[in-house]
Subunit: 283 residues, 2 copies
């Protein structure tokens, strides 16, 4: 039983991200687990995380996770690649009462499984690339892999602006990616190491060509979580479609507007709860 | 005398911005007042401000100003257009012991003075454009002015990335500006309503042509502050070059690296003090 006497398996799954990018992960989670309830928190008052220092990302992540814990969740998905890459072990150590998974390891598994030649390119935020979490995670899955990576901060701004195709996007993609792919022994796989990037799938395909595998962590994260819930007997008994509570630390109107690009359907600002940035202190 | 017994006019001038963009203003201030000391605070842990709500921008601005007040400054320049547009009256009301000036009114004066035909285009962040502060400020200076405006959030990301010229920048500028200028009775003046934007001067000139006046608020803000210090007998008596203390709420290394684009000279991360995000409570 949870603190409010509901059976734990009926509680919602918590999902947190620095903003709206994690909605690509939420979408994959709902597709695999349509009867689960979700609580999605976007830390829009302090986004983006990707250009900030590890210490600051860890502090923000602890606060966001602590806030979702205070709302009673049965598990937590860190949908933000930057937070997963920088703060996941800290969160797991801090909040030991529920399972917590990130998106880096599922992404590394997806990338490793897709690659034939073992050469994998990763694009992510500045902070994720500098921390090297994807390189390490891929090496753990596949010791012979060769990983190259590039920080693509402008993609985050483009996604937030809703510019997801066309010549400007492709020119920027060329500038970021040509150095990774126009080489001898080029990668055969491009791993999208930021939750904002799946919206550029078609544009990236135009730039890198048909023969490169394009993978993101959303679907493998959803598969990993489903597996975990089954193993730990945390699957909801409900057979009705689950609900989603959207929460943001700033600007529900803007959240709803930008979220539409990621969710693939409209969202009303009245469906987004503005939550206090004075988070509950972590346990 | 100040709280620490130094004569007030020998104290530094406080300058605050959401990040590094305000360094374009600092540069203009130093050019006009080379003997003054400055304290520059970039709130890098929470940047950018331009996509956030008025309430959040006001809260952050109060905290940043309160922090600089605690370090003993003789006046405060709100170098961030977004914070100036959204929080200046609140700051002036809250901290009545020192003069506080923003960049919106000086920018509006510069734009109004430059325009012959009275039609002025303003480009700024989302929040600044939505709040309408430039429109109101220009109308106060010049009642007959016609103001059109456009939010250009990608320029902020481009400036942070250091991509300040070339075809990508110009293509993005066309997308933002063509609608403002390719019309009958087009503006003759483009006001750069964000401190990040002066780095795009050459690229913007290529896009809008030679005949449009391009103005920013940095120099008029410096002129306004110099005038204010003279009137209030706050000019430093020193005839030696003044010092600058750089402070950031996150990532001194990144601050120093990106700052170089704005300062026009290199800066070492050891010259940037990391200050606690637990700001002193405002008075």
């Amino acid at each position: 039983m949870s603190a409010d006497n509901r059976p734990v398996r009926t509680l919602p799954i918590g999902v947190f991200d620095s903003g709206v990018g994690g909605l690509t992960v939420l979408r994959a989670l709902r597709a695999r687990m349509p009867c689960e309830h979700f609580m999605y928190l976007g830390d829009t008052a302090r986004l983006p995380y990707g250009s900030k220092s590890p210490e600051t990302i860890q502090r923000y992540s602890l606060q966001a996770a602590g806030f979702l814990m205070s709302r009673n969740i049965k598990c937590l998905v860190v949908a933000c690649n930057t937070a997963s890459a920088t703060a996941l072990p800290l969160l797991q150590q801090h909040f030991q009462s529920i399972p917590i998974i990130g998106v880096v390891e599922p992404g590394a598994i997806a990338g490793s499984n897709s690659s034939i030649n073992g050469r994998i390119a990763v694009i992510a935020t500045e902070s994720t690339v500098q921390g090297g979490a994807y390189q390490r995670a891929i090496k753990r899955v596949r010791g012979d892999a060769q990983v190259v990576s590039s920080a693509c901060p402008l993609f985050v701004a483009l996604a937030e602006e809703g510019w997801t195709s066309g010549s400007i996007v492709e020119d920027i993609a060329h500038r970021y990616l040509d150095g990774l792919f126009n080489i001898a022994d080029a990668p055969d796989t491009l791993l999208l190491g930021c939750t904002h990037f799946p919206v550029f799938r078609d544009a990236l395909r135009n730039v890198i060509g048909e023969h490169i595998h394009l993978v993101d962590s959303a679907d493998t994260t959803a598969a990993a979580l489903k597996n975990l819930l089954e193993q730990q007997h945390l699957v909801t008994p409900s057979t009705q479609p689950g609900a989603v509570n959207f929460m943001a630390t700033d600007g529900p109107e803007r959240f709803a507007r930008v979220a539409a690009h990621f969710l693939g359907h409209a969202l009303s600002s009245t469906d987004v709860e503005l939550v206090e940035p004075t988070f509950v202190a972590p346990a």
